[in-house]
């Protein structure tokens, strides 16, 4: 280190990764357009080699956040810093650090797998022999080396996704951003993709940021940020988040849920909500509570269930809304 005194500019242009443990830090991001607030003061940070999930129903702002992190959009307030580079001020330096896999297909169907990656490599300044060997390496990695010379339009959905992933990883990014990566994939291909993301995290120390609206995918992340109407409503590991519910989630179906909910509230002194004609409450030792409540109101209860809290319960707990209530109606992209 002491042998060479680096120029001031050199010092300054290096991303400050060593001192800051965060690969991504998002501070108080606000995004408004057309009179709508898509993001309203969101802050969080992502560690190196972490599988980080952005969970939220459609319209929660996660796609806006994804676009800001991938430099496609400039936020109207706050800052997003990736590997030490500000997304608004230094987009080109940031772009070198990230690999991006979009929800929609971005590969050119008229080109072969090899040609798609060849094209992509050129955009990142790779060329010649190193590019060639890198393409074959990454194609082998996603298990498509033998199809290199075939046009992408002849590939199955799962194979096309793998080419998308190869495209995002070609230039060895430190951060991989994926927008709803499993959209349109069958369960087998989904499992493969997640397994591959874990390998990337463990073997190459890549930080992986995944947006998703699927609970079971969010469960697989190391940490999660849950978004609702542009606000961060929860941040932590899936286990931590579920732990805060404290106990079990009890759902009761009744002939007259509103009145029964009131009476349960008075009788047991608990917080009770009614959602979709079901009474919902959170309580420790749910199995004891079930017998108590059934005995207290005989004949009024049609069905009752007790379960361990899920991430959906976390969402309900924090927002007072069901995760799917609005989202399911407006979901044109997922088939």
């Amino acid at each position: 280190m002491a042998s060479k005194v680096p120029a001031y500019e050199e010092l300054n242009s290096e991303p400050d990764v060593a001192s800051a443990p965060f690969v991504i830090s998002v501070r108080d991001i606000v995004h408004r357009y057309d009179g709508r607030t898509a993001l309203d003061g969101v802050s969080f940070a992502v560690h190196r080699a972490e599988l980080f999930g952005l969970l939220g129903p459609n319209g929660s702002g996660k796609t806006t956040l994804f676009r800001i992190l991938s430099t496609l959009m400039v936020p109207t307030g706050g800052e997003a810093v990736v590997m030490g580079f500000d997304a608004a001020k230094d987009p080109d330096a940031l772009r070198r650090q990230i690999g991006v896999v979009f929800q929609a297909q971005s590969i050119d169907a008229k080109l072969t797998a090899y040609e798609n990656l060849w094209h992509q490599g050129h955009l990142y300044g790779l060329h010649g022999r190193p590019l060639k060997s890198r393409i074959m390496e990454i194609l082998a990695r996603v298990g498509l080396a033998d199809r290199a010379k075939e046009r992408v339009e002849t590939f199955s959905g799962g194979m096309q996704r793998r080419i998308e992933l190869a495209k995002g990883l070609l230039h060895h990014p430190s951060v991989l951003l994926l927008d709803e990566p499993t959209t349109g994939l069958d369960p087998g291909a989904r499992r493969d993709l997640w397994q591959y993301l874990r390998i990337l995290r463990d073997q190459e120390q890549v930080s992986v940021i995944v947006t998703t609206h699927l609970m079971e995918e969010a469960e697989r992340c190391d940490r999660l940020a849950i978004l609702h109407e542009g606000k961060l409503v929860a941040l932590g590991t899936p286990a931590e988040l579920k732990h805060e519910i404290g106990g079990d989630v009890i759902l009761i179906e009744a002939y007259n849920p509103e009145s029964l909910a009131d009476r349960i509230r008075i009788r047991f002194k608990v917080q009770v909500t009614v959602m979709d004609n079901k009474i919902r409450l959170e309580r420790e030792n749910g199995h004891h509570f079930i017998t108590d409540v059934v005995e207290a109101f005989p004949g009024e209860i049609q069905a009752i269930s007790v379960s361990k809290p899920t991430l959906e319960d976390v969402f309900i707990h924090r927002t007072g809304h069901r995760f799917w209530s609005e989202a399911q109606k407006a979901e044109p992209r997922t088939s």
């Binding site: 680096p6 008229k110 190193p130």
Partner: protein
């Protein structure tokens, strides 16, 4: 400081991204996509041929017998304008690919790459320019039919003119296509522009004979200078309104202006959804 490289074994540190490599690869893709779509190849070759069959057999002879334009055959007069028309349509319509790229999601992956925005414009525009220049030159093969025999140097000048006209119009097409999200809207806008641009370029009737305000419009129409330059080169005997160097200089300026316009469009990083 060395954290980045030590924790990323095998990281390929890209050299400073030049303008040319990304531009080359985008250009290459335009060409490959073109020849892999057979109908487009047929269209590019067949349309000049068809055009010639129609004007050569019907339109041409009827004017010729009338001899309305004095000694000059109308077909001779019409030839440079026809060449410009073919170039005009091909140039602008190749840039429909900008809208398709955006819709297909391909463009997004280019936009998040560390690529200078000018090389995106350069690559796409040169791709379209190449295709329409080729089409223009195919049309030129029929020049001997109207009694035009070009020397090698004149041919190069004609090719240069066709290139400049193609480049500027493709850049115009790019600038129009960039903010659009549907090809229908593109068609609507283009038709609004294209036909008047061509009609007022001296392709159909000469600048000299036009009346006051039409003449003014023709003078500010950059295409007029393309038609003039071609007429100069193809029919050196007929009187030209502008000298060749003036026409060529105007075309160069027009190209630069259109390229800058396209560049400005691409460089708008907004707070609106990008694509």
């Amino acid at each position: 400081m060395a954290t980045q490289t030590t924790t990323m074994p095998g990281q390929i540190t890209p050299a400073t991204n030049g303008l040319l490599l990304p531009a080359f690869t985008l250009w290459w893709r335009e060409i490959v996509r073109f020849y892999r779509q057979r109908s487009r190849v047929i269209g590019v070759i067949a349309s000049p041929v068809l055009f010639w069959l129609v004007i050569g057999s019907g339109f041409g002879t009827s004017f010729r017998s009338g001899g309305a334009a004095g000694q000059e055959h109308y077909l001779d007069y019409f030839y440079p304008g026809a060449l410009i028309m073919i170039v005009l349509f091909t140039s602008i319509f190749t840039m429909m690919s900008v809208i398709e790229d955006r819709k297909e999601g391909f463009l997004l992956s280019v936009l998040v790459a560390p690529v200078p925005r000018s090389s995106i414009v350069l690559g796409k525009v040169l791709g379209g320019t190449t295709l329409s220049t080729i089409q223009g030159l195919i049309f030129l093969v029929f020049a001997p039919l109207v009694g035009v025999h070009l020397s090698a140097s004149d041919f190069l000048l004609v090719a240069l003119t066709v290139f400049l006209v193609s480049f500027s119009l493709t850049a115009l097409g790019f600038a129009i296509a960039w903010p659009m999200d549907s090809t229908q809207a593109f068609h609507a806008i283009i038709n609004l522009f294209l036909i008047p641009l061509w009609l007022l370029s001296g392709a159909l009737f000469p600048l000299a004979g036009a009346s006051g305000w039409i003449r003014l419009l023709m003078r500010i129409n950059p295409l007029t200078y393309g038609v003039e330059a071609l007429r100069n080169l193809l029919h050196p005997a007929s009187p030209a309104v502008f000298p060749l160097p003036a026409s060529m200089a105007t075309l160069v300026l027009f190209s630069l202006f259109m390229f800058s316009l396209a560049f400005v469009m691409v460089n708008r990083r907004t707070t609106k959804p990008a694509a």
